[in-house]
Symmetry: C2
Subunit: 387 residues, 2 copies
C-alpha cells in the first residue's frame, strides 16, 4: 500500500464527511500541517494524530466532566488542556518509532481512547499508536505486489487446560498451491499480558513473513501463534497440578498442529521463539524437550547469563557439555533493544566462549522493551532458521 | 467445553491468585452466591459477573476520582455506588440472554470497562457482556467432540479502495482433507459500525457452522466475512466516484476469494446475507448482480416492504415478474427479533402473495436488534442454502 495515498484518501474522506455533517466536531478539526491520523486509529478517526517527519503525536479526547487528563507514553507524562467544548488535547515530544501501548488517564482512571483500535496487553485491552518509520519499516508493511499468506484462527481442545484455546496459524502464500508439500514450523510466543493477537496485529507477522519469503530471504514456513499463558493460569495450575504452559504446547498444541497442518514434524524442522516472558517460556520449553526442537530464540527474553557458572546452572546443565549441545542445536538467538539493559550480549558472549556454537546476538537500535524490537527480531530470526 | 468446569476452574484460579497476592483487591472479592465471571471478560477478571439463573449482572470499576458512574444496557440505565476504596458497583435487573455491547459512563464520558474484552461496534471498541442461555444456546458453543473448521484472516488488495482490506474466511473441517473438492460460498456482512471480527467473535460463526455441519444440518461451505463498509468510506467514495461497497465485493473481494480458495463459482453456489445495515447492502449487491447470486438473506435488515407497490419499486422491478424471479432465485430469507418492530413479516407476506416463491420469514423470540437474533438467523439460514 502507498501510505501517502492512503493518508490522502483518509484526509479527503474526513474533510468531506466533516462538511456533510454540518456542525463543527472538534474531533474532526483540520489538523496542524504535517499531522495525519495514526494508522492504529479506528478508520476515519482523526485523533490521535502523528507527524511522520517530527514523530510528534497529538492526542484528543472528549471528557466534559473531567478535571485532569494526562497520558504517559515513551517514558514521559503529558498533561492535556481543555477547550470550551470539553475536548482535551495534548501534543507530545517526538516519540520513538514503532508501536506503543497507552491509556489516557482521566481523573486518576486509566481510560481507553475511543479513537484507537484495541490491542491486548498488560492483561487488558489497551489503546495503541504506531509512530511511522521511514522506508526502513517497509519489511513489516503490506506490499500488494508480493504473494500473501493467511493467518488461520484455530480453536482447539486442551485436555490440560480443560477448555478450548485459540492458536493463530500463519501459512505462506504457496501453502494452498502445494497440497502435498509439508513445511517446517516456528512456534512464536507473545509477552506478559498479551494474547494470540499480539504477533498478528502489533507484530505484523503476515507482512514480515510474506515480504521475507517473496524476497527469498526466509524459507516458507508455518508459524503458530498460540494464546500462550494468558488463558492458561499457568502459575495457578502449576501449583495445583504440576503442569506448566510448556505441557500445553507439547501435549495439546503440537499434536493439534501436526494433525491439522502439513508439517515437517522432526526436531530439525521445529523452532520456538518468544518475546519477553514468552522468551523465558520458550527456553524452558525447548530445553525440556530437546527431542522436539533444535532452533531457539529469545526476543528481549530468555535466560540472563552473567558468567559461566550461571550458564552451567541452566536447563539441567544443557550448556555444560558443548560438543553434545552443538550436535543437537542449530541456533540460539537472543535479541534486545538498545534502550533496554538486559545483559543479553554478555550472555551470548559467555556461551560462545564456552564453545557453544551458532549463538547469534542481535540489538535493535534506538528501541526499548517494545514491539519494534520484536518485529526486527522476527525479521532476523526468521532468516536464520530451517537452513 | 463444559462451561461449569470452566467456571469452576476460573473461580478456583482467582481464589488462589487473590490469596497469593496478599492485600485485598475488591476487583477479586468473592462474588455473591450464584454469580460467575462473564465469558466475555478478560480471562481471570472477576467482573462483570453474571448469574446464569436469574440473568442479573454486576458491573464494577475502579474510578477513585469519579463523581457519577452509570451504565445503560438492555434499554435501561443503572447508577453505580462507590465504596471506600474507590470501586463503583451496580447490580442490574435480569438482562436479555445473548451478547450486549456496553460502555460505562464516568462523569459524562463513555468509558471502556477494563474487565471486558473489546468488541468492535458503533465505529469504536466497545465493552461487551454475554448473558448465558441454557442448553438452547449449545448450537453456538464450542463442542470438543465435533470436527472444527478454521477462520483465515486474509489481507487482500482493493483497487477500488486504493488500499488493502481484511476478509475472514471460514473453511469447514473437511476442507483441508479434500484438496480437490470445491465448496459453495456464503458472503456474510456485518452491521453498521462493526467490522470483520463481528461475525467471528460476537456471531460465533465457527461454532455455529462446525455444529451444523457435524450434525448434517448444513452443507459444508466457505463463509467470507469481509471488513465491509467500515474501512471503505462507502458514502464518501460513492459521492466522489460513483463506487459503492457492492463494487468492492464484486470486483475486488470475489475474485480474490475465487483465486485463493476452492470455490464453486456459479450463482447456484453463491449466497449473500447480512445483518442490519449489512442486510440492505446484501440486497443491493445481490439484485444488482443476479448473475452472481441466487440465495439472499437479510437479518434485521434489508428492504422494508409495506405493500405490493413498494415491492414493485424495489431493485429495478425485480419483483414485478414473479415467474422470471422464481426461475432465478432459490431463497429470500428475512428475519427479525420479536422485540424489534421492522415490519419484516408483512414484507415477506406481501412478496409471497405476489407469487414470489421460497420466501422464508424467521422471528427470534425475546430478542431485539442484537447478536442473539443474528446467531439464530445464521443458524436457520445456513440450513436452507445450497440444497
Amino acid at each position: 500500500m502507498s501510505k501517502k495515498l492512503l493518508l490522502t484518501i483518509v484526509s479527503l474522506a474526513i474533510a468531506v464527511a466533516a462538511f456533510a455533517q454540518g456542525p463543527r466536531n472538534p474531533q474532526n478539526d483540520p489538523m496542524p500541517a504535517g499531522f495525519y491520523p495514526a494508522e492504529t486509529n479506528v478508520f476515519c478517526c482523526q485523533y490521535p494524530a502523528v507527524n511522520p517527519v517530527t514523530k510528534e503525536a497529538i492526542f484528543r479526547i472528549k471528557a466534559d466532566g473531567a478535571r485532569e487528563v494526562s497520558i504517559g507514553i515513551c517514558g514521559k507524562r503529558y498533561n492535556f488542556t481543555k477547550d470550551a467544548e470539553g475536548y482535551w488535547t495534548v501534543k507530545t515530544d517526538p516519540l520513538i518509532v514503532g508501536f506503543h501501548y497507552y491509556m489516557i488517564n482521566i481523573d486518576g482512571t486509566p481510560c481507553f481512547d475511543p479513537g484507537s483500535e484495541a490491542f491486548f496487553g498488560s492483561n487488558s485491552e489497551q489503546s495503541g499508536i504506531e509512530i511511522p518509520e521511514g522506508p526502513e519499516g517497509d519489511y513489516y508493511r503490506f506490499d500488494k505486489n508480493v504473494p500473501h499468506g493467511k493467518i488461520a484462527r484455530c480453536v482447539y481442545w486442551s485436555d490440560i487446560n480443560g477448555m478450548e484455546r485459540v492458536a493463530n496459524v500463519y501459512t505462506p502464500a504457496e501453502y494452498d498451491k502445494n497440497p502435498t508439500k509439508s513445511y517446517p514450523v516456528l512456534y512464536l510466543l507473545h509477552g506478559w499480558g498479551e494474547d494470540e493477537q499480539g504477533w498478528v496485529i502489533q507484530g505484523r507477522t503476515l507482512n514480515i513473513m510474506d515480504n521475507l519469503i517473496a524476497a527469498g530471504k526466509a524459507v516458507p514456513m508455518i508459524i503458530v501463534i498460540d494464546s500462550g499463558d494468558i488463558k492458561t493460569n499457568s502459575y495457578v495450575r502449576e501449583a495445583q497440578e504440576g503442569k506448566t504452559v510448556s505441557d500445553i504446547y507439547v501435549n495439546d498444541l503440537m499434536p493439534y498442529i501436526n494433525d491439522n497442518f502439513r508439517t515437517l514434524k522432526d526436531r530439525d524442522h521445529t523452532a520456538m521463539a518468544g518475546l519477553s516472558r514468552g522468551g523465558s517460556q520458550t527456553f524452558n520449553t525447548v530445553f525440556a524437550n530437546l527431542d522436539k526442537f533444535s532452533w531457539v530464540g529469545g526476543f528481549s527474553g530468555g535466560p540472563r547469563i552473567a558468567d559461566e557458572a550461571a550458564a552451567k546452572a541452566l536447563y539441567n546443565g544443557a550448556f555444560t557439555d558443548a560438543p553434545k549441545y552443538n550436535s543437537q542445536m542449530h541456533l540460539l538467538f537472543m535479541s534486545t533493544g538498545s534502550e533496554e539493559n538486559r545483559g543479553t550480549k554478555v550472555g551470548c558472549d559467555v556461551l560462545t566462549k564456552m564453545g557453544i556454537r551458532n549463538v547469534v546476538f542481535m540489538e535493535s537500535p534506538g528501541t526499548a522493551h517494545e514491539w519494534l524490537t520484536w518485529r526486527r527480531s522476527l525479521r532476523d530470526f526468521a532468516q536464520l532458521i530451517f537452513k
